[in-house]
Subunit: 350 residues, 4 copies
């Protein structure tokens, strides 16, 4: 099953906990000869760091990645690439009281029942910190994709139900919250500030687009490109829904509206989101993810102890108000990993 | 990659095309000693057949499954189970003109560009007929799950934007369209009849619930239970969105509303849809799927030929107006296959 | 685990028992556009049939393969290829007494303890009949390899300890027993006749060579080409040892003798058997397999019943005296499947 | 393909080169609650270190392993276990001249042609140093197996063609060269000293036994226990042959001698080596591996440069004369990893 491995011919295997030594992993199947160094990977990793925005935690990690193998004289060698990011800022004392209590909305309950014990410090393996390793894998995947001109862009389109009115993916890299529309940012900031004051948290929607994807990626039947993308994105903590193209909106359309007519110059529309029959069509691939509000809230909640006794909890520690913006580079990474795997797999057909 | 295989320790591998000899497959990893015969599997398969409802095709297949191995004296032997469903009703003449033209919204374009050729008869491998093999695999998975008391229920909750006002999963087995509410059926029938008259098609929403799922199924990080469910369902043709629990609605909630408080008697709500941190919580698992309108419409559409010349097409043949109800048993099967795989995987932890 | 699936990007999944409906399988990952029909596959399958030699069983099966999908207008479509070979000659009565007794040297004991029940008719799934499906998969693999000029040759080099003095792989296709030297055949026939008279069976050695294999196939560390070949061949019933190049002889050599010097024209010798560091070197790949004597002997043997009571058995039925020659095409098939998988995987590195 | 991953439900993924930062990996699928710490793993790793025997290199590495995740309060948590062993003794200057030349018998040629470039320092990824990560994985696998009383013993039975006359596996742990018979050690030492003086190297044979293995491990058809063991052991550099039980000797026996009669007290012999039909029989599992002489010899050898020009080479650096004894703990680890995977897989059948 290799449940900590993602991908088949291009794969990422990860390890690490919130309050252990650090997080790391192994990237396997990366072609030889690709320019790669720690600086390139670090750039991606830095995008995931808590910023100065209202939504962020105050936990500060330098998140410095070290590449441990698979690169020689600035190029990948085709062998497995090990990497490690040491944990630095661990105030375990913050979390000590969580050993005996399940936080509502968190993985605590599942881990305890599955394994019979758990590393309760900051969520252990279920911590969002785990996603740092995904971003490293995604950075290498991007380097593979870039050789074919494929780009992955991520953006936030809604926070707390406040939707951006226009979507310009290119704006997001420079915008707070990776917003797809700079004009929406003040409203989001105000909303988040208000939510924070009430000791609560909010969710949102993230959109990922892949550009310049060649026609033909994806496998029919089970390994459809959209199925793998759904797997990739739903596997990120906090994501509760994934859609492709029109998504749930397609359930409201008629065939005559939802179909994308073909012209010699290309498709006349992109309701399909770049995937037909599980195979990329050459149009932009469009994925949207529903992100739930962060379950750690500064309000009293009913819960039970390890021994199923009723109790209440106010989750302390340094927590985000919204998984956006930090989840954006993570979802970009998951899409990049998926596409790199299919791209390398596809070459064998040539 | 084994793109025609689904699952790891309990797996289904399929083959077959719409207008070839038939569809079939191999089920691997089924424990020995489970009562199984062709009649039990046939019962599930019959649920997928076109009914007499307004939404259905007039193509009639007896869809008789034959089990070819892995069963001895009425019980599974632990070895691989081969099966085959012969195609019977093939009027290839209906489809002959499709060799040169891509049907909008269909897999034709992707297959042609991926493989350089395609079996264009009725969609070939991309035909919905492929899903018959999934239902067979799902029937065996259900037999495995039933040993633990686990049940999978599927229902339609909306067609063409007309949503049922109440959801009673148990009603669906007996209701036309597998509707979750018998009261909505007349409206759906009227709507579908109207759409059919306009030469168009409609989409809808399907809900799958799994009951009595033990706590602890699913793997952290990449192989989260919800990630695998998203992969399973998004891998069914026509599905454009998958959500768990509140799904996209979670993006609108605050943490204080979306969290499910714990009491000694259990969870006070089920916004999470039965999955926390990628691991089953013991609550009902709730999956919703957005189903797009069937792309074969009886209206003229713009498209191109194999040689990228503009042309138009009115798709003939015997087609459904809505993928609902036939998709419901298919989605049930995919959820059953996913849960059986995790259930068998989990036992090793004991 | 998918224990009935072999291969990753080019894979074979099989099913079927000795006395059930038949044996069959699914070939996945075959590139599109390869000329393939039943006649081509049948030719390979016919090589596995019992011949008129002294070593063979008198069971006669026409072993007619039917391709059920994945081929359209004489070419592979890139989708999964289903196939089936119906059982015809089943005299279950021959085997009925085996329900209660474990045959020494057979899989009966393991199956019974693993699964708690077994299809005891003719060995069920553990019957050599299962290998017919491997030969079908191998035939398709050969078609893939042939496009690159890669050839697989198999031959017997020893039976009952009587070794051929010269090895000419090309002779084997036309020789009885697929002998690598026609001159040895009379001795083998005499020996086998003598063994048969004593109610006994014999083993032997099979050699497989792959020619025109490009440099670079195989993956370092775990998926070395030689490791996968060992897995492939040891997975054939009756094989108890697998060696590459010098094999066990290499344990007797010194480095100065075992190393293959390199010249601009190529390697000066091939002690390595075509694999260096797990990667093909471009030389012929040489695999040798030790084949144990068939365990079904016409002599009384001590054994136990299902209830662990002592008993004795003389195995009746129609059995071979030696797994050679029938195992030769099976081992060729396993090598072909392995190489096709690596060949297709390698292309992605380009 | 995940070529740097070994195993399915219990898996090891590795990375690292001879002269890079170090070697490491990720162990996935280890059950929760197993006592594990660095000291336990270090003990196994120390067995692989160069000793003071005549066969060893003079390169000294402390080989200190650090567990980076997956262990909490002295017990495994069920999540992935990352580990790292930093390289310390790297005299890259020793190897600099190898950038332009292929060492005969080494992986240099294959890597260069497969990847187009290579980390030539000390063999890079193809260095025996890679096996340190296998030993770490094996140590964790042993901890899993020990819970069921399963033990893995390894021993050398021959060096340079000098075979031990008796095999007592228990002696090996304390014996130089892990010899299965202390009496043979002086002969081996003398032989190795002589070989060293002639600037040459020697091969040998290693035997691995697994004790107390339950009946029923292994999967029929492709994933036979013996097939996986062959894959595991042939995947260790320098191994050129793998046999189970009688191995190549079985090719010389008759069925009446090779079969293991069954008595109510158990099997009367163990020619099968503990595996029948690919499934463990409850007897000791016996694997033998042919180990080739180390290709780095202190004699002049003919070879070619990167540009295929003739040249000669005398391989310098600090090299072993014989892969034995260091390969013994590595082969034990591979058998342990294989059995742990099957053991955990088997539990699900219960």
């Amino acid at each position: 099953m290799n449940a900590n491995t993602f991908g088949s011919v291009f794969s990422l295997t990860t390890f690490g906990e919130s309050h252990g030594a650090g997080v790391g992993g192994v990237i396997d199947g990366c072609p030889a000869g690709i320019a790669l160094d720690e600086a390139l990977v670090q750039t991606e990793l830095d995008r995931r760091k808590p910023g100065t925005g209202m939504a962020g935690t105050t936990r500060k990690e330098s998140d410095t990645v070290r590449l441990l193998s698979g690169v020689f004289e600035g190029k990948t060698t085709g062998t497995s690439i090990g990497f490690f990011i040491a944990n630095e800022s661990q105030r375990s004392g913050d979390y000590g009281n969580l050993a005996q209590v399940f936080r509502p909305g968190h993985a605590d309950f599942g881990y305890q029942h599955k394994y019979g014990l758990r590393d309760y410090r900051g969520g252990g393996r279920s911590s969002g910190r785990e996603t740092a390793a995904r971003v490293v894998g995604g950075a290498v995947a991007r380097a593979v994709l870039a050789q074919q001109g494929i780009e992955i862009l991520g953006a936030s389109t809604a926070i707390g139900g406040i939707e951006a009115s226009t979507i310009v993916m290119e704006e997001a890299r420079a915008c707070p919250y990776f917003a797809c529309d700079a004009a929406i940012v003040p409203q989001w900031e105000e909303h988040i500030a208000s939510v924070r004051r009430s000791g609560d948290t909010v969710g949102g929607v993230v959109r990922i687009e892949a550009r310049n994807v060649p026609v033909g990626l994806g496998e029919p039947v089970f390994d459809k490109l959209d199925a793998r993308l759904a797997y990739a994105c739903m596997g990120v903590g906090a994501v509760k829904g994934v859609s492709i193209g029109e998504g749930f909106g397609a359930a409201l359309l008629r065939g005559s509206s939802n179909n994308d007519p073909l012209h010699p110059q290309g498709f006349a529309s992109n309701h399909a989101g770049g995937v037909l029959g599980g195979i990329s069509s050459g149009q932009n691939i469009i994925v949207e993810c529903a992100v739930k509000p962060i379950p750690s809230i500064a309000q009293e909640q009913q819960t039970v102890t390890l021994h199923n006794e009723p109790t209440s909890i106010i989750v302390g520690g340094r927590h985000d108000i919204c998984a956006i913006p930090r989840i954006v580079p993570v979802l970009e990474a998951m899409v990049a990993l998926t596409l790199a795997d299919f791209l390398l797999l596809q070459r064998r057909m040539g």
